[in-house]
Symmetry: C2
Subunit: 321 residues, 2 copies
């Protein structure tokens, strides 16, 4: 089933006031660490390094109520941030939320949002440990994640790829973009294609894959947030290498092909430029770590190719277009 | 001198694009830790606990270009967040910035903002280690701070105050609200009152005071962000105590009195309800720690009094009014 839409009923944020808004968030996403000036917590591993990242979701830019629910939006915000932590080979340990919303927003929207955040941080055994709420013209969801990097292995930096290594990926590529295209088309979406829509509404990412990759000898990693070619290009550029992707490993699957046929679009565009899957893409000396598959190889040179040729599509997310 | 206004000249964010926006921020606020999926850094103290907090500044709600500059706005965002870290008795170690702005915003505005952030994080020997930029209808500045709490002493929680202790404060109280009132009045502001305006544009907070207070035996702490009575009430309520403030210690100083006279307002309102000074206010068993002064006492009971009477003003910041 595809759920979309934001509740329009019940008391608004302006009606209940800041105190009740914070109470609703803390009820939906409880944490004993929340409620003070700042949250204080112990890293999961002694003497570990700290990892920090932030991602913002703006109404009308990153989401609209027509295509998602507050619950999925909350989940997506967590995945976006935690994927960045995992892409360093680290473990997410906490999140904080800054939220701006018009006073006319129903409290129920914020409650669902917090429930979505709770649902996803819970999958990682994490908590929402603090936040800030304020009025603003748009709904803006700014989540920051804190992670912990244990042990003495280096983090999985963009600059760690070396010629001769293998490119590996965990998770679907192109699903989120295809799901959004289906929603935007206004077409009747066949049940079989719901997984694409669900992937747009909240990308799938198995907790702990980045940690496993680092332990298994991965050398560099990123997540597919702005588009595969663009994100892999950043990795190639930072590492001063050329990355050659294998079309056979990336070829659109049945779902992507069916969606392409339905919409009259080339599913390769979703695969190469779609982004927002938050798939982990990295490099490794040896075999692909458990849960990862090989999608290319690292060579001397620069740029990104597909089967040694220029990719058919290369653009990606641009924040200020 | 009072500086206000946002640059309207030069290329816009939409004209230069996301890559250049990020480059400008990183040039103005450089960090070797920035530029990957997430930042990885070592806490200042081995085996320390992690501290996290977030605060959002929304255009038209928390600031307007008429009353501040992007530089001061960046500085203020840091102070707000770092005050929350200090209020736990911890040391700020890093900040991440999520920024939403209309595509029509001049790049220079973002550059100045980042320079302001750099100026303030530098005072704390910290760095801006990561971020996210996106378009949006309003300028929204969402900063998150990460801190480090070393040693085995507990953090300075709101719930730590006990009857018989002393209430102490570091920093001016009421200055920020008085400064904003001066700016909003449209009056010609005498040079002597510039410190009030500057306190509104960027509150003063000496780095390290929270750390010192914790080491010196403070038991609870918060910062004056929403209004003195409101913030102290939160501390009293969490600690199940009554806090009696001394009017002699809080009495408006010459500057506040002069501003009150100029505007025909009672400066006590700024002192008791103004907020945004980010003054550290806490409790301690013994003498006031260095840099702090005594402003009240903790007793059995509940609520906040001034000289054992109900405060003349008790309201404060409300996010959704």
């Amino acid at each position: 089933m595809i759920r979309t839409g934001f509740s329009a009923a019940g008391p608004t944020l302006a009606e209940v006031g800041e105190y009740e808004v914070i109470r609703a968030i803390r009820q939906a996403a409880p944490s004993a660490l929340n409620g003070d000036d700042a949250a204080v917590f112990t890293p999961s591993v002694p003497n570990s390094r700290v990892v920090a990242t932030t991602d913002m979701l703006v109404e009308g830019r990153h989401f609209t109520p027509e295509f998602t629910t507050p619950f999925d939006l909350g989940r997506k915000a967590v995945v976006q941030n935690f994927a960045d932590v995992e892409a360093m080979g680290a473990r997410p340990i906490a999140a904080v939320l800054a939220l701006s919303a018009p006073g006319s927003t129903p409290l129920e929207v914020v409650r669902e949002l917090a429930a979505g955040i709770q649902s996803k941080v819970g999958e990682y055994s994490c908590e929402l440990v603090g936040g800030d709420v304020t009025s603003g013209e748009q709904l803006v969801l700014s989540l920051s994640a804190i992670g912990s990097l244990g042990g003495s292995l280096p983090p999985l930096r963009l600059a760690g790829a070396r010629a001769g290594q293998r490119v590996v990926a965990h998770g679907n590529i192109g699903y989120s973009a295809a799901g959004l295209a289906l929603l935007q088309s206004g077409a009747q979406i066949p049940t079989a294609l719901y997984p694409l829509v669900h992937a747009y509404q909240c990308p799938q990412l198995t907790p702990g894959r980045g940690l496993i990759a680092r332990a298994a000898g991965a050398t560099a990693m990123t997540d597919n947030s702005d588009g595969l070619v663009r994100d892999v290009s950043a990795l190639a550029s930072q590492s001063n290498v050329l990355i050659d992707l294998y079309s056979a490993a990336l070829a659109p699957d049945e779902l992507l092909c069916a969606a392409g046929e339905l919409l009259g679009e080339d599913p390769w565009a979703w695969v190469l430029t779609g982004g927002e899957d938050h798939t982990l893409v990295g490099t490794t000396e040896g075999d692909a770590p458990v849960g990862f598959r090989t999608i290319g190889s690292v060579r001397k040179g620069s740029g990104v190719l597909v089967d040694a040729l220029e990719p058919a599509y290369t653009d990606g997310w641009e924040s200020f277009l």
